[in-house]
Symmetry: C2
Subunit: 265 residues, 2 copies
Amino acid sequence: MATGRTHRPATRSRGIPEATVARLPLYLRALTALSERSVPTVSSEELATAAGVNSAKLRKDFSYLGSYGTRGVGYDVEYLVYQISRELGLTQDWPVVIVGIGNLGAALANYGGFASRGFRVAALIDADPEMAGKPVAGIPVQHTDELEKIISDNGVSIGVIATPAGAAQQVCERLVAAGVTSILNFAPTVLSVPDGVDVRKVDLSIELQILAFHEQRKAGEEAAAEAALPAGERALPADAPRDTAPPGAAGRKGPEGDVPAVMPA
Amino acid sequence: MATGRTHRPATRSRGIPEATVARLPLYLRALTALSERSVPTVSSEELATAAGVNSAKLRKDFSYLGSYGTRGVGYDVEYLVYQISRELGLTQDWPVVIVGIGNLGAALANYGGFASRGFRVAALIDADPEMAGKPVAGIPVQHTDELEKIISDNGVSIGVIATPAGAAQQVCERLVAAGVTSILNFAPTVLSVPDGVDVRKVDLSIELQILAFHEQRKAGEEAAAEAALPAGERALPADAPRDTAPPGAAGRKGPEGDVPAVMPA
DNA sequence: CGCTGTGAATTCATTCACAGCG
DNA sequence: CGCTGTGAATGAATTCACAGCG
């Protein structure tokens, strides 16, 4: 990906930044809601609010797609829905397979937003022979043995892995060998794939851990705020509300013997 | 460096970059696996591979935490596990509530990796009176009416929203009012929260859409690479270069005004 | 030596601020 | 006027590359 250094002069002809791509679905969702309410046009300000971003960012994002707005007015909702859908490749239907029909896999299979927008669950696959034939979300589960056949018969290029961590890499390899080039991984493990295959991961415990980090920081600040007095500043120096570094940021270097007790017991 | 140049050598005492925070759980997972295999030390190179990042990035990340390695040797696995756990706030247990016990909520409740690392499901909450009392993953579901009491009785500061989109904002407000300051949102909607509250979102269809974008791009490149044959089908693959230079082509507008109606809601 | 830790360089993303079109 | 589209400025993240410690 992006390895090829095009000799294209400055102006990116089609290099939409990754960060922008990641926001297009958000815009699309907001626009779809407006469309359902028959709202004809939106300003960047309104749409940005609905999508939870700021308007400068939204306008910059749209500028990578082309000039789809009208100065003094805003954007035509229907038109933008179409343009973004097209950009995301949602004007076609993507058959998807879900591998691993446990609790999570079943929940994904039942997830409505799936079919509604450009994706179609082509098959559910599980390694447990007991599951074979049993319908989940109206679709009969098929055994892993059929994986390769299913992929090629249906021209599947997107696979969802919802197996236990231990099985994920192997499943991944089979999917890739069978022709899948995009994988959404729910298993808590790092997948290694050949070049040209995209992997995105969703991991509950990672998200929780990130939240815990911030939560802990908040607790620390709170405590520091209450007793705003000289304390072991190395321990849990409350970052200034803004971002800049707080005062007295002396050297670092974690003195190994010292394990600063951080938890506000 | 640009503006840098404060009086202080910018040794941030605690300003860990967000991107780094997001990777700490990955390192932790890889380290935990090593620890279970009783591996005593790892080099940045090995650990980086296991975590799926490159070693320079890993070393830079660790440098924000302190100097926990030994030159010429690597990192002590146990020690690093401890340091990262502490940094992430996992040396304490975080009670978590899950609101919305449908397919997904149930799957989350059953998710093992939950309890295993610093988190404890304090309660399951659902709006359906039918659900009340029924145990899911061994925990009895409680009715939404109890939400505030549950939060405060258990000192919950992290909430997981797995309700339908329509209910999410309201649930969010009640959680926040009751004292929750970190939210993991699985509902496909933008939550608005007051300052000081962190929200992270997990959205299946967004992830799929991002994959579809890249998938489409691959298909386009492939076609173009194959043999510049005039593809008869969709004339708008990933390559449709309608965007161009900002300078000369200043006044370009959408494609010949048309194409309104589109997606099936 | 080998491998960490880190300034400096580079690349990527966000924000500002305003020219200019409708 | 109001609002888009976008250069330029700023800021964040990644990568390079190497000094220096064990």
